[in-house]
Symmetry: C2
Subunit: 191 residues, 2 copies
Amino acid sequence: MPRVTGTKKAILEAALQLAATKGITGTTMDEVAELAGVAKGSVYYNFTNKDQLFEELMEQGVGALAEVLREARSGLHGWSAIEALVDTLLGRIQENSALAKLMAAEMFRTDRAWQKTLFALRHEALGEFAAAIAESAPAAKNNGTSELMASSVFGAVLMGGLEWLVFEPERSREEVAATILQALGGQLRPA
Amino acid sequence: MPRVTGTKKAILEAALQLAATKGITGTTMDEVAELAGVAKGSVYYNFTNKDQLFEELMEQGVGALAEVLREARSGLHGWSAIEALVDTLLGRIQENSALAKLMAAEMFRTDRAWQKTLFALRHEALGEFAAAIAESAPAAKNNGTSELMASSVFGAVLMGGLEWLVFEPERSREEVAATILQALGGQLRPA
DNA sequence: GTCTATATTCTGATAGAC
DNA sequence: GTCTATCAGAATATAGAC
């Protein structure tokens, strides 16, 4: 994947920022062009149509996330791997909250043109969590619930992270990471 | 809150089903009218405009959820209360997956006309989780992270529940509830 | 209360000059 | 590669008959 620069990059960035607050359907190509500082014709020169623009956006974003998670887990095992994944995911949510909002909104949509592409990348990103969970909780591995549990853990970090950034931004990242890990680490259940 | 019946009810139900798959912005008033089996004029007779229709929809849905959670927790404490809340929320997600999808998509939008209304109800629903968590994890209560932890737990159930309904519908509800509770109950962390 | 018909605005997309 | 101008269709909302 060659890195995107120049006009194309500006358009993708503008589209991401707009879609994070207004949603994809609520974002118009006119707005994208204006925020990117180019004419609408240039948007259509770089992307076939609106669907293709947002497909490429999601593909790049989720693809990069999956790669970062893979690196974060490499060499680690069990609870340490889960800690690293949670911390890394939270970091990505902080640095790219626009993409996080977009993912939360799009993750369970089943009517998109790019559904298949997104599903594959989603599966890849969740797979990192599932693998770490299978190591840490053998019971989950045996009855095949690793992926389901991975979704729960991912959801905990995503919702917790967005709660932080949107409603309690005064907290430190360390505090938020620790809080989420406590919720997942059995602190809720008495010994 | 008087229960809504007849035409108004049909319109709200149609709007919910459509918005669950196409999103609110992607749902047109023509489609709502058609699915509800009424003319568009009747939609505008019952609701001032599109925003007001969906505000009422979200208000009813999230309000009912908050009430159900309150009942589920009453009389219970500590981990038992959390178990009951998780199980009840999962049940609501199963029975009303359309609303669950809508909530996931709308929860962190900050540009909606009805943002304030939704925020208050969201806070109310999360408050049930936060209260149970404050009892169960005194540390969270002391440093004021109960609400943040509540968001994480809510996110775990919501994402886990939707993963189940959208991607692994062959599983039983009991199995899903147990899996999510394991993730939250410290099964991931070695003793 | 419900309908049909219509006004008006918005939006995705294209054509063609530079 | 980028721009301006423009079209065709869609979407919100209203008016007025029944």
